[in-house]
């Protein structure tokens, strides 16, 4: 999860935990941290899914998305943009870059919890991905 707002992180974690989806969650607080996690020197497993906010300090979410989708090692990882922005240009740009879903964060907490849970269920449980990182 790439999210700079601690409140949003906490709420999202709470929602995921509620549905037993937060057992292996790593939170990056800005774009740089996210890229470091994904492409840094420390070898880490490729995540099963990335929840990405767009408006981030240092490196913004669209840049992170671009890096994920242009790297052969990570481009098959489902990326869900979850942001407050419902600006058309963000939506279009995200899809241009190959985002798998684009969700506008609801203000209503109940809706928020539902959305996060549904996303987790869909991408982590229901959706079938090819095994392995794919050809380089």
């Amino acid at each position: 999860m790439v999210e700079d707002s601690p409140a949003d992180v906490e709420l999202a974690v709470r929602a995921l935990k509620k549905h037993n989806l937060a057992n292996q969650l790593y939170v990056a607080r800005d774009g740089a941290e996210a890229l470091d996690f994904l492409f840094g020197p420390e070898a880490r497993p490729v995540p099963k899914m990335v929840l990405l906010d767009l408006k981030l300090p240092k490196i913004d979410g669209l840049e992170v998305l671009r890096r994920i989708k242009s790297d052969p090692g990570t481009r098959r990882v489902p990326v869900v943009v979850m942001t407050s922005s419902r600006e058309e240009r963000d939506i279009v740009e995200s899809y241009e870059l190959g985002v798998n879903s684009y969700i506008v964060k609801p203000v209503d907490f109940d809706q928020f919890v539902r959305a996060v849970a549904e996303l987790g269920m869909y991408w982590l449980v229901l959706n079938q991905l090819p095994s392995g990182p794919g050809p380089a």
Partner: protein, 609 residues
């Protein structure tokens, strides 16, 4: 032109006729004079013959007297007449030299006279030498008389012939005179008629020319006034000599009060603003290639040295070999327009910057204002969920109020963003099926509140050319309102339909819900204006403002009819032709084109490609 040629032809014919007439008159007069001369000649011949004969008779009387009396005086008198007789005969021969027959007659007469004279001489000699007997005297006298008779006969022949000639000549003279009169009379009448017709033609031509001149003056007058009114100057440049004809306005544009003695490119160049030299050169080069001259450049005006913008258009003319010889056109001072354009450009840039700022602002609002609200709602929720045991009823109520207000503010922000976006983003027009949009909206409403039973009737709705996603907002708000305000009714009914109104199509959404007081209809479409309390019907007061803005941007209008408790009917009219976007339209599209919104999960956008 035609009349001109006719009158010229008439003049030539009249001139020719008069010339011919003069010639004929001269010929006739000449004839007449000749004839008269011949008549006089005839009379001369007659007189001469007469005189000759009478002279011979006189001589005979003298000879006879001498014979009888022997008077020598008589013989002398006769001799005196001889030179005169010779002269008459000479003259007579001279007079008839042109007429062979008369010549012969005169010769015969001459011969007879000379014979008679010789005989008389012989008789006189004879009388002098001896006396003559009575018998011989009688013989000689008889012979003398016989010879005189012969001479008279010959003279009569000459006389007769000459009189015949006289008759012929007098007849000829009469004919000639008659002909002369006829020629003169007829010719004069003909000439007068011709001159009269030439005069008529000329008069007509003069009149026509005057009319043409008057028309010409009038059109020149009009042109002058039009040019004056348009502040346009004209110029006509000879490319070979660099000389020109201009109107006064042309030189006035360059700061001169009166027409300058000379003007050409050489005179123009010092006026040209130095930075625009390239523009001028290119304009001329282009004119040489395309024959069209068009240039906007700055000049330094004579006198006040002000920098002015001029716009000049012209046309290039070539000689028969295709060489450019002449450039002709108009010139206007367009400084005010240029300055206005510049101001407009500056304003546009400012506006674009302002829009840019507004874009960032709404982006921030969208992103940053919603995040804290979500936290407020979320944490209030956590409090309720995790600490329900320790909270009393009042605490839970207060937390509920907090959450309600946080969500309300979230909706408010969302609606405001929609309102802003629908006003800013460019219209993406396509043929749009309004019926599909209406059904989509209704389906979504049913899905969100499945427990309600609302009778929705969507009638025939013609397609229109509009931005489909924007039009969906219109229907979502109107049908959504109808849905909301019929909540209290068990027999809730919503009708969506349309009527044809000529140049526009009227669509309506009618419900039997709460309705509103028409006194407040003016507030209805304003942002944040509500006619119902929040505890009656929830809402942000933005929906109908969105409706109005979208419809107006499509060139349409929107209005409503209602009464409290009697339901409401909302109308919107869309022009059948491609609607004109009203109000300020921005150029920089900040949001990006295409389908905006898209928050409805179940609502189908009926936008056709």
């Amino acid at each position: 032109m035609e009349t001109g040629r006719r009158s010229l032809l008439g003049a030539v014919v009249a001139f020719g006729t008069l010339l011919g007439l003069g010639w004929l008159a001269y010929r006739n007069a000449d004839d007449l004079i000749g004839t008269q001369r011949w008549i006089a000649h005839t009379h001369q011949v007659l007189d001469t013959v007469d005189a000759t004969v009478s002279m011979m008779k006189d001589a005979e009387i003298a000879v006879r007297g001498h014979l009888v009396t022997g008077d020598e005086d008589l013989v002398r008198r006769r001799a005196v007449n001889r030179p005169a007789l010779e002269e008459y005969l000479d003259r007579l021969r001279g007079l008839v030299r042109d007429n062979p027959e008369q010549q012969r007659n005169v010769d015969a007469l001459d011969l007879a006279i000379r014979a008679k004279l010789a005989y008389s001489d012989d008789v006189i000699d004879h009388r002098r030498s001896r006396d003559i007997g009575a018998a011989e005297l009688t013989d000689r006298l008889a012979e003398g008389l016989r010879r005189i008779d012969e001479i008279e006969g010959l003279a009569a022949r000459v006389d007769h012939h000459e009189r015949e000639l006289l008759a012929v000549r007098e007849a000829a003279a009469l004919t000639s005179t008659t002909r002369t009169y006829a020629t003169l009379g007829g010719g004069t009448i003909l000439a007068l008629a011709l001159i009269a017709s030439v005069l008529v033609l000329l008069t007509r031509e003069v009149k026509q020319r005057r009319e043409v001149e008057a028309q010409l003056r009038m059109s020149e007058h009009r042109l002058t006034h039009a040019l004056d009114a348009s502040q346009m100057g004209l110029w006509d440049l000879d490319l070979l000599t660099d000389e020109s004809h201009r109107t006064l306005r042309h030189d006035q544009i360059f700061g001169y009060e009166t027409l300058q003695p000379a003007w050409g490119r050489q005179v123009f160049h010092p006026h040209l603003y130095p930075d625009d030299r390239e523009i001028e050169r290119e304009a001329f080069d282009r004119a040489l290639r395309t024959d069209e001259f068009s240039m906007e450049c700055r000049i330094i005006r004579h006198g006040d040295r002000a920098i002015r913008w001029i716009s000049t258009q012209g046309k290039l003319f070539r000689d028969e070999r295709g060489e450019p010889v002449r450039l002709m056109g108009s010139v206007m001072d367009v400084t005010e327009r240029k300055e206005a354009e510049q101001r407009l450009q500056e304003r546009t840039q400012q506006l674009e910057a302002a829009n840019e700022a507004l874009g960032s602002f709404t982006y921030s609002v969208s992103h940053d204002l919603r995040a804290p609200l979500r936290a407020i709602d979320g944490y209030a929720h956590i409090l309720v969920e995790d600490h329900a045991d320790t909270l009393d009823a009042e605490s839970r109520r207060v937390l509920g109020v907090i959450r309600t207000n946080a969500r309300q503010m979230g909706r408010l922000i969302d609606d405001l963003l929609s309102f802003s976006r629908l006003g800013r983003s460019e219209l993406d027009r396509a043929t749009t099926d309004v019926a599909i949009l209406a059904h989509g909206v209704c389906d979504e409403l049913r899905r969100l509140e499945p427990e309600r039973t609302v009778s929705v009737a969507v009638g025939a709705l013609p397609t229109t050319v509009a931005d489909g996603s924007m039009l969906r907002h219109v229907l979502a708000n109107l049908i959504g309102n109808a849905w909301k305000f019929t909540r209290g009714r068990a027999d809730a009914t919503i009708e969506v339909g349309s009527t044809d109104a000529g140049h526009e199509t009227l669509y309506f959404v009618k419900d039997n819900g709460a309705g509103f007081d028409m006194r407040y209809v003016g507030k209805l479409f304003r942002v944040f204006e509500r006619l119902h309390r929040a505890d009656e019907f929830e809402g942000t007061g933005v929906g109908l403002a969105i409706v109005q803005r979208v419809v107006q941007r499509h060139g349409g209008r929107v209005w409503a009819e209602s009464a409290p408790g009697a339901g409401a009917t909302f109308w919107f009219a869309l022009p059948k032709e491609k609607g004109v976007e009203h109000g300020a339209r921005q150029r920089g599209d900040l949001v990006g084109r295409g389908q905006s919104g898209g928050r409805g999960i179940g609502g189908a956008s009926a936008q056709e490609a």
